[in-house]
């Protein structure tokens, strides 16, 4: 049975657990309550650093701390974390390969009522183009917890994104997270559904819908977008012959692009991408926006039918 849990709550829990590690420092830009870095602040105020509304400065400070041996977690909303600070991240984190973990909350269209200015739909794309950068988008709260633990161990810069609202769980508490590994959640033979973030749940629902029509869909949780798990992606597509990607992000530059690039080079087969089109979001409830922007499980199922039709 899946539960509704907020990923950022589990990010906070993981930071709390990590507080015992002396090298961990957490930075915030006036959003500690929202990003849940406040959980770390409660147990470890001496290694919690408030920088104020100054995200670019936050990344610069992170690099100095990381260069001196700290493992830095810097958090804010996705738009500000990646867009506002892109060149700072390029220079301060990616190029010198420093131990800076940029963990963004409030990504995707499910940010809802705040509208386009606050809905990060380009963050995966922005971070994916940076050399040395690892890009992770966990599917649910449990995976977020495990991924936080894993990136704290990992040596190098990481970008991890999550949404704001509670999302259904698709993994089990305590499941291990391996950076760079995609997980096959459901096996199938007609089409591969590659999902990331909370869209993995929608893929599972879509597979259920397709099963009723006699279509067997494979569902893969691609929580590490970079480095992409090439073996798992190619193995799946060589079995099914076509793919759908689903992400709460622009179809340009994110998971859909990453999977398409790989498949077109290694195993040309039809791919259909589900994500927001080349446009900004708007205000509304998350559920309404998912329908309006074509991110529901039936949109994924429809894309699967299209992909299957295109098979030769």
């Amino acid at each position: 049975m899946s539960q509704m849990l907020a990923q950022r709550d589990y990010y906070g829990k993981a930071l709390r657990a990590l507080a015992c590690r002396e090298d961990i420092v957490v930075l915030d830009a006036d959003l500690a309550g929202s990003t849940k870095t406040s959980e770390f602040q409660k147990v470890c105020p001496e290694r919690f650093v408030e920088v104020g509304i100054a995200e670019q400065n936050m990344i610069g400070i992170s690099s100095g701390l990381a260069a001196e041996g700290k493992t830095v977690f810097a958090s804010t909303f996705g738009v500000f974390a990646t867009g506002r600070c892109w060149e700072q991240i390029r220079l301060c984190a990616a190029y010198p390969k420093l131990n800076i973990k940029i963990v963004a909350t409030h990504c995707g269209i499910s940010v809802g009522e705040d509208g386009a200015t606050h809905q990060a739909l380009e963050d995966i794309s922005l971070m994916r183009t940076l050399p040395n950068m690892t890009v992770i988008s966990p599917a649910d709260a449990y995976e977020t917890y495990a991924a936080t633990m894993a990136i704290a161990e990992y040596d190098g810069p990481v970008y991890m994104r999550m949404g704001r609202s509670p999302v259904p769980t698709v993994s089990k508490e305590g499941e291990k997270f391996t950076i760079g590994k995609a997980k096959v959640l459901l096996e199938g033979k007609d089409v591969s559904l590659f999902g990331t973030g909370q869209m993995v749940f929608n893929c599972i629902e879509a597979a259920e819908e397709l099963r009723k029509e006699g279509i067997s869909a494979e569902v893969i949780n691609v929580s590490t977008i970079k480095p992409l798990d090439r073996e798992t992606v190619l193995a799946s597509v060589s079995g099914t012959g076509c793919a759908v990607t689903a992400e709460e992000h622009s179809i340009i530059g994110g998971l859909g692009s990453a999977v398409s690039e790989l498949i077109s080079e290694e195993l040309p087969s039809p791919v259909q991408r589900i994500g927001t089109m080349d446009m900004f979001g708007e205000s509304g409830s998350p559920a309404e926006l998912f329908v309006k922007y074509g991110l529901t499980s039936s949109d994924i199922a429809e894309a699967a039918r299209r992909a299957i039709k295109k098979k030769r």
Partner: protein, 281 residues
């Protein structure tokens, strides 16, 4: 819709009407930023109903003064000011933050008549305002550019890049207002990241500085008049304000930064504001 108000008393009443709209629209939306909206209400009343040259029936009239809301999260007070001055029907305020509405959670240029710029990512409005002011200079136009900035927002370095630029280019047609309510999301601005000494900072960047009580209509008007006399330098008006001003339980209450009233609270707030309006008459 409110017609151009003249006396200070009338403007005070307008400010409270705008506050009332803010409470109603954010409560209906179930989200939004009432605290910082209420602290800016007196300034907005003065600007939209007294100081600024503008034509609600002709939003792109070339001679209009430009207003940039840098602290875009207080979109509700901007929408209330625009609706009450006649840019769009007041009823529409109730569509705030709903799907397919023009009234987005943060202002969007081109979507709502009267909104000059899209804002909501803090720290960028003053630079935009510099661009507007520079364009006016280049084209020999006489209108002025007004920009409202949050005090927490001033922590963002881009403000200071803009501040340098404005004095370098002698943008005497630019007026910045700092809503110094001394609170941001995480608490007191002094605790989060102090911006003191604020007056001296602006002065050292080459600006004319005046500090006023941001809830005193007369003082705000005087400051605007003083700004009009600027010869070579931009002007900043630092307004000492109270976050949540006008609703007792919201005043200086950081909880209402980004949270709307529930039904009970909304009734309470509306009663207080209606009472205050009666008092103005």
């Amino acid at each position: 819709m409110i017609r151009l108000a003249k006396s200070e008393k009338e403007l005070k009443e307008v400010a409270n009407k705008l506050r009332l709209d803010v409470i109603e629209m954010t409560s209906e939306a179930g989200s939004g930023h009432p605290g910082g909206s209420l602290s800016s209400a007196d300034l907005m009343a003065v600007l939209y109903f007294r100081v600024m040259n503008h034509r609600p029936s002709d939003p792109s009239w070339d001679g209009r003064d430009r207003f940039i809301l840098s602290k875009g999260h207080v979109a509700p007070i901007l929408y209330a000011s625009l609706a009450e001055s006649g840019y769009f029907p007041v009823d529409e305020l109730m569509t705030l933050r709903k799907i397919n509405s023009r009234l987005q959670g943060h202002p969007v240029r081109g979507k709502v008549p009267g909104v000059e710029m899209s804002t909501g990512s803090l720290g960028q409005g003053l630079s935009m305002a510099c661009g507007f002011a520079l364009a006016a200079k280049m084209d020999g136009k006489k209108h002025r550019v007004y920009c409202l900035i949050g005090d927490g927002e001033l922590q963002s370095g881009m403000n200071w890049e803009a501040a340098m630029f404005a004095s370098q280019y002698k943008l005497n047609n630019l007026v910045a207002f700092v809503d110094r309510n001394r609170l941001q999301i995480s608490g007191c601005t002094d605790d989060v990241m102090s911006i003191e000494p604020l007056e001296r900072k602006w002065e050292s960047f080459g600006w004319r500085v005046v500090t006023v009580d941001g809830h005193n209509i007369g003082q705000i008007i005087n400051a605007c008049n003083w700004a009009k006399r600027a010869r070579t330098r931009p002007t900043v008006v630092i307004m000492n304000t109270i976050k949540g001003k006008g609703v007792s339980f919201m005043e200086n209450n950081v909880a209402f930064h980004g949270k709307s009233c529930n039904q009970e609270e909304a009734v309470c707030a509306e009663n207080e504001l209606e009472e205050a309006m009666r008092f103005c008459r």
